[in-house]
Amino acid sequence: MKKPKLATVWCEACAGCHMSFLDLDEALIDILSQVEITVSPVTDFKDYAFPQVDVGIVEGGVGNEENREVIEHLRRQCRFLIAWGDCAVFGGIHTLRNWLPKDDVLRCGYVETASTVNGIIPAHEDIPQLLDKVLPVNAVVAVDGYVPGCPPAPEALAYCLKELLAGRLPVLPADMMHFD
């Protein structure tokens, strides 16, 4: 049987979910024998124009135009889209800025920080525009499965992949649920 293909991306996130995935340690060998990871931050991919996959996994919220493009592309390229971690599921810690106007956030980050001298807010056509609010992935595209947690425990991520391999959409049991 052909191995199912997997693509993982991260958007506005801290890489913690992927770290948690790597924390599966030797269990990864077993998982990798059953799936093929096409692109992933772990494989240091630079090009988002990847081919069709069976499962797309996203870590992180949608905070800028680039994130939105990546998510929309991944949605088109995958059969099932799974959101990993609080940022992808709820917006996560980045939503702290959702209570502030975008301009204030940029000014605070690039101009007003204590260590900044003559700071300017970066503006260039190559730099993706910040969205007004950080959004969870399901506010932008349809999502098929959710693994909340900051980060989700390695066991929860393994459970998610095993359910997918068994042909079911993952729904975390109550004892694996945590939001912090």
Binding site: A83, D86, V89, F90, G91, G92, I93, T95, L96, N98, W99, K133, P136, N138, A139, V143, Y146, V147, P148, C150, V171, L172, P173, A174, M177, H178, F179, D180
Partner: protein, 699 residues
């Protein structure tokens, strides 16, 4: 009557159960071990049926019913869980999460939150509705209770706790619809409101909306699943409120009131500011080693052996030079009964000490010098009688600061039962609930009592039948009320209030007089006799209990009164002439002895959990002891008739022994023969001594 109630048969999830027809579906399910998720329901509060988390299907009806407010009915068929019910509950949760800021990831309450627990239980792994990201205000004007409206789900538990548990009626809903907020009074900030900081609201808050400002962040607290709890009692006033304290890694996270309390103690998790918040304060530098003052006046660490030897040598030298009367022992009224027994035996047997007493002023015992006959004393009423009284007369300043729970119990009676009440004193602690208040300055209260007694006697002469009345009529010399009114410069309003207080008192069947400690401590014995006689006019509770409650300065003041034999006035410490031993239990409200401790004493040893800064100049040896929360012990209740065991919540710092062990080590060095050798024997001895009094009271 209750036995005649026929149980009804209902079916819950296919299981037939027989239950009392007065129950709700939720109660019936809980009694039979069937879990229904709840949110606005709380075991200590009335039900509101507001959150709809507990919905169930009844008899296949299309509309789900809130089980917490739906009574059972014979033949009822209840389904507590199916796909539709779970979906409904999960959707309610999603709306709650989306409406305000419920991002557990950056919420300090995470890990100790009922909303979060429900989200896990119902597997709410995402939101299907967009979050509002609307900003609500935060009120951190108080140093005890924080209110973050962003985390509020408007379940109304706090509103109900404020009226039902605390009797404060400070919290309520304000505004409408999505703008609804929990508000203090008429939209005040917390600090400007009439809130007494009892914290009942934050104990019942299912989220982090109302939170304890002393232990805020989960980086400090960790998750509730890693906590240990200790059931114990609060020793800070004589009400002995049962508590559940939460500890993690020997660090006190929080203290909550026990639900249910049992033993007739304050119910529903009721505590006060002291018991809930002030105990979490860190109040000074801990004393971790015995310290000895060097000749140049600086302090040096010393070994236990040498420090204890120094104490014995120092006090013995004072006694040898000036006699036993020169040695004084002062113990904190927060000490346990066991510590007090040990302390008394050490002082009395070790140095024939003439004087012994408490750190705080325990002048309240002046009122016990008035008895039915010479050499006898009356016993005061239990605070539990507040629940039965039909008129309460509060004499002196009964403030929220000294006895908050007593204040709350009276307030609840006034509001719920329309109980009449009167206050005499500098300020009106029952405002705005009390019926009457006459403002007189401190010390003048007893003059008014004289007027009330004199007038009440006049009215009751014809009707009263209480056993003591005849004697009172002889003793109560008639006074001219007009003179007293003039002397106290009472206005017409106060004068008519006085008339009404007299009438209310005469008309009442079960009155109770509550006396503040400073009034009971007055040296004016004839005035105190008037007070006692006024109580006696209405007969006694049981055999010998006055209709009178005396408030005390400290939690175990009655234990100290009984165990240190303070009724013997000659032996009571008035000054410290030459040297002494002080057993100091520092807490946030009392950290200096009421007696002046002069600099230049021949010898002073202090046993304390903290470096006693106020005694730094005059002390010679410092011996560390555990805090009350770090040691076991028993406490005596407010009326002296009740003992409760206070279990330790924390371990003492390494190397610090329980103070009874230290006191016994001192006894051994001073060649004192004690009639107890172990903790169990000591505890038995202390209990016997308190009980001896109690049983003679009953006889």
């Amino acid at each position: 009557m209750e036995n005649n109630i026929q149980p009804v048969k209902i079916t819950i999830d296919g299981q037939e159960v027989f239950v009392n027809p007065e129950l709700t579906i939720l109660q019936a399910a809980q009694q039979n071990g069937i879990r229904i998720p709840t949110l606005c329901h709380h075991a200590a509060l009335s039900d509101r049926g507001g959150c709809r988390m507990c919905v169930v299907q009844v008899d296949g009806a299309p509309r789900l019913a809130a089980s917490c407010v739906t009574p059972v009915r014979d033949g009822m068929e209840v389904v507590t869980v199916n796909e539709r019910i779970t979906e409904t509950r999960r959707t309610i949760l999603e709306f709650l999460f989306a409406e305000r800021n419920h991002n557990c990831m950056f919420c300090p309450q995470s890990g100790d939150c009922e909303l979060q627990d429900l989200a896990y239980e119902l597997q709410m792994d995402h939101l299907t509705v967009p979050q509002s990201f609307h900003e609500f205000p935060v009120d951190i004007t108080s140093d005890t209770i924080g209110l973050d409206h962003n985390r509020c789900i408007l379940c109304g538990r706090c509103v109900r706790a404020c009226e039902e548990i605390s009797g404060c009626y400070v919290l309520n809903f304000q505004n409408r619809g999505p703008d609804t907020l929990i508000g203090f009074d008429l939209n005040e900030m917390r600090e400007d409101s009439a809130c007494t900081s009892c914290g009942a609201c934050l104990q019942v808050c299912p989220t982090g909306a109302l939170y304890n400002r002393y232990r805020t962040h989960y980086a400090v607290k960790g998750h509730a699943k890693d906590w240990q709890t200790v059931r114990t009692v609060c020793p800070l006033c004589g009400l002995l409120c049962p508590t559940v304290s939460t500890v993690k890694d020997d660090y006190l996270i929080k203290i909550e009131g026990a639900i249910p309390a049992g033993n007739g103690q304050p119910e529903g998790g009721q505590l006060c500011r002291q018991g809930r918040f002030d105990v979490l304060k860190n109040s000074g530098r801990r004393l971790l080693h015995p310290m000895v003052k060097k000749t140049d006046g600086s302090w040096a660490e010393a070994s236990w052996e040498s420090a204890l030897d120094l104490v014995v040598e120092g006090l013995t030298a004072v006694r040898d030079a000036h006699g036993g009367n020169a040695v004084v022992g002062l113990a904190s009224g927060l000490s346990s009964n066991e510590e007090l027994v040990c302390f008394r035996d050490l002082m009395v047997k070790g140095w024939e000490t003439g004087q012994i007493g408490t750190l705080e002023n325990s002048g309240f015992q002046n009122i016990y010098r008035i008895g039915p006959d010479k050499g006898q004393t009356f016993k005061e009423a239990s605070w539990k009688k507040i629940a039965e009284a039909d008129f309460i007369l509060a004499v002196g300043t009964v403030t929220h600061d000294s006895q908050p729970v007593v204040g709350s119990l009276i307030r609840k009676r006034i509001i719920r039962d329309n109980m009449r009440s009167a206050g005499i004193g500098p300020n009106d602690f029952l405002y705005p609930y009390g019926t009457h208040h006459i403002s007189v300055k401190n010390g003048d209260e007893l003059l008014l009592i004289k007027a009330i007694l004199s007038e009440a006697v006049k009215v009751m002469e014809k009707t009263a039948s209480a056993p003591d009345v005849g004697k009172i009529f002889e003793q109560a010399a008639p006074v001219n009320v007009k003179d007293i009114v003039k002397r106290l410069q009472l206005d017409a309003k106060a004068e008519s209030a006085l008339d009404e207080i007299i009438r209310d008192y005469v008309d009442s069947d079960n009155p109770l007089i509550i006396v503040a400690e400073d009034v009971a401590a007055q040296k004016n014995l004839s005035g105190l006799r008037d007070l006692v006689n006024l109580a006696l006019l209405k007969g006694r509770h049981g055999n010998d209990r006055l209709r009178l409650i005396v408030l005390k300065p400290c939690g175990n003041s009655m234990g100290a009164y009984k165990l240190l034999h303070l009724s013997d006035e000659k032996k009571q410490a008035q000054t410290i002439p030459k040297g002494g031993l002080v057993l100091l239990e520092q807490d946030p409200f009392q950290d200096t002895p009421h007696l002046e401790i002069p600099v230049g004493l021949d010898f002073l040893a202090v046993i304390s959990p903290y470096r006693p800064d106020s005694l730094d100049d005059c002390a010679h040896v410092l011996i560390p002891k555990p805090l009350w929360m770090e040691s076991d012990g028993t406490c005596t209740g407010l009326d002296g008739g009740e003992i409760a065991f206070r279990q330790k919540m924390l371990d003492a710092p390494a190397g610090i022994n329980p103070s009874w062990q230290t006191l016994m080590a001192l006894s051994a060095r001073a060649n004192v023969q004690l009639d107890y050798g172990s903790w169990d024997e000591l505890r038995q001895k202390a209990e016997q001594e308190i009980q001896k009094e109690v049983s003679s009271e009953k006889a």
